[in-house]
């Protein structure tokens, strides 16, 4: 239906010739734009409604005193459905530790939340198909579980700032449960909010796909992380760590890298490194973690993302 509408706009309304390069490019652009914005609106709305049932307080109760492993799996999954603003990472961390959530489990939660992000998943789905989106989600969960488990096994509690353990927040207040209509209203505002934030990046990404085939600013990366190179994955990850963009911002780059023929596992690993680790996030986490733990966290994330990238290149 969307395809017909796009064709109608191009060939009937604008009277462009069938088969001409320009017409086809515009056709592709309009169709993709409609498809992706429709997907985004629907999915963000649904995810927002689901999230209203999983406030961080509830997640904290579920994870409190859970065993490692089961706890890591649960935490990674809850990271997807629990909404939290990056600014609340510190109060969340303290609240979790205070409630007896194991350190490694807390990390699994903090990692999965930004990594398995609905905007990223929908954009991958819209531009590369549902399989790639599902693989990305699976990879993200795997990284969150693995990295969290390893941090838990290493017993690094001594590198958490002391005040975190002394913290007594006392009885925090809880909000009254929302009526269903109210959940829908919040979901709607949230959807509009996110679309406002990401639309430009998405148009750019689709534009790269439709018009600028072969245009790639990251030639450097492609030369050193190309297909034949066995070190493609670690190179891509190490380059992605210091770079930071949100899920929508990284998609144009991902598209360009795919165009240049980088393999899927390499590109998804790059995307994860860009979205999962960032300087602003490190500065926030520094308030609760001492520098050695912060360094271990970055190292473990880099290693697990690389490992997962290799696995996917081998599997696909």
């Amino acid at each position: 239906m969307l395809k017909d509408f796009a064709s109608y706009l191009i060939y009937d309304l604008a009277r462009l010739d069938h088969g001409s390069r320009l017409a086809d490019a515009i056709n592709f652009f309009i169709y993709d734009t409609m498809k992706i914005f429709l997907l985004l609106s629907v999915i963000i709305f649904i995810v927002s409604v689901i999230r209203s049932y999983f406030p961080p307080e509830k997640t904290k109760r579920i994870l409190s005193h859970k065993k490692e492993f089961i706890g890591n799996i649960l935490a990674a999954l809850l990271g997807i459905v629990t909404p939290f603003c990056s600014c609340s990472a510190v109060p969340l961390f303290i609240g979790f530790v205070e409630a007896g959530v194991p350190l490694g489990v807390t990390f699994s939660f903090l990692i999965s939340s930004p990594l398995v992000n609905e905007v990223a998943v929908v954009l991958l789905w819209g531009m590369f198909g549902w399989k790639i989106a599902a693989i990305y989600m699976g990879m993200g969960l795997l990284v969150a579980m693995l990295a969290g488990s390893i941090i838990g096994k290493l017993k690094l509690e001594r590198w958490v700032e002391e005040y975190v353990y002394k913290f007594r927040s006392g009885q925090t207040q809880e909000l009254v449960t929302q009526a269903f209509g109210e959940r829908l209203a919040y979901a709607q505002w949230n959807t509009a909010d996110i679309l406002k934030k990401v639309w430009l990046f998405i148009i750019i990404a689709i534009g790269i796909g439709g018009f600028i085939h072969g245009y790639v600013p990251q030639d450097f990366l492609v030369r050193y992380a190309g297909n034949g190179n066995p070190f493609a994955v670690p190179v891509a990850v190490v380059l992605g760590v210091p770079l930071y963009a949100n899920a929508a911002g990284v998609i144009p780059i991902v598209y360009a890298l795919m165009e240049k023929g980088l393999s899927m596992g390499t590109v998804l690993a790059f995307m994860m490194a860009v979205t999962a680790l960032s300087l602003p996030e490190m500065i926030i986490l520094r308030k609760v973690l001492k520098i050695p733990l912060l360094a271990v966290f970055v190292a473990i994330m880099t290693a697990t993302i690389t490992a997962v990238g290799y696995v996917f290149n081998a599997v696909i």
């Binding site: 307080e57 909404p83 600014c87 109060p91 303290i94 925090t172 207040q173 809880e174 909010d193």
Partner: protein, 79 residues
């Protein structure tokens, strides 16, 4: 009336503060709006920022943010 906006300082917290200010102005009520960025103080109420506290009661916590009409109702409920 005492309104507190809880948030260590990010785009969303800033937006919450703006919403509270606009709501107070549009409602034409006399209220003191205070921005709380101290973690200890924030966690007396909630661990999900941005938060909105009216007369000592937590009215909103975390994402997604309410819209302006909703913020007005939240504040009015305590007048």
């Amino acid at each position: 009336m005492e309104i507190k906006v809880l948030g260590p300082g990010c785009a969303n917290c800033q937006k919450m503060e703006d919403l509270a200010k606009t709501a107070v102005k549009e409602l034409g009520i006399d209220a003191k709006i205070e921005k709380i960025s101290d973690i200890q103080e924030i966690m007396k109420y909630t661990m999900s920022t941005p938060g909105l506290v009216v007369n000592g009661k937590l009215k909103h916590a975390g994402k997604p943010l309410p819209n302006i009409e909703k913020v007005k109702t939240l504040i009015q409920g305590e007048v």
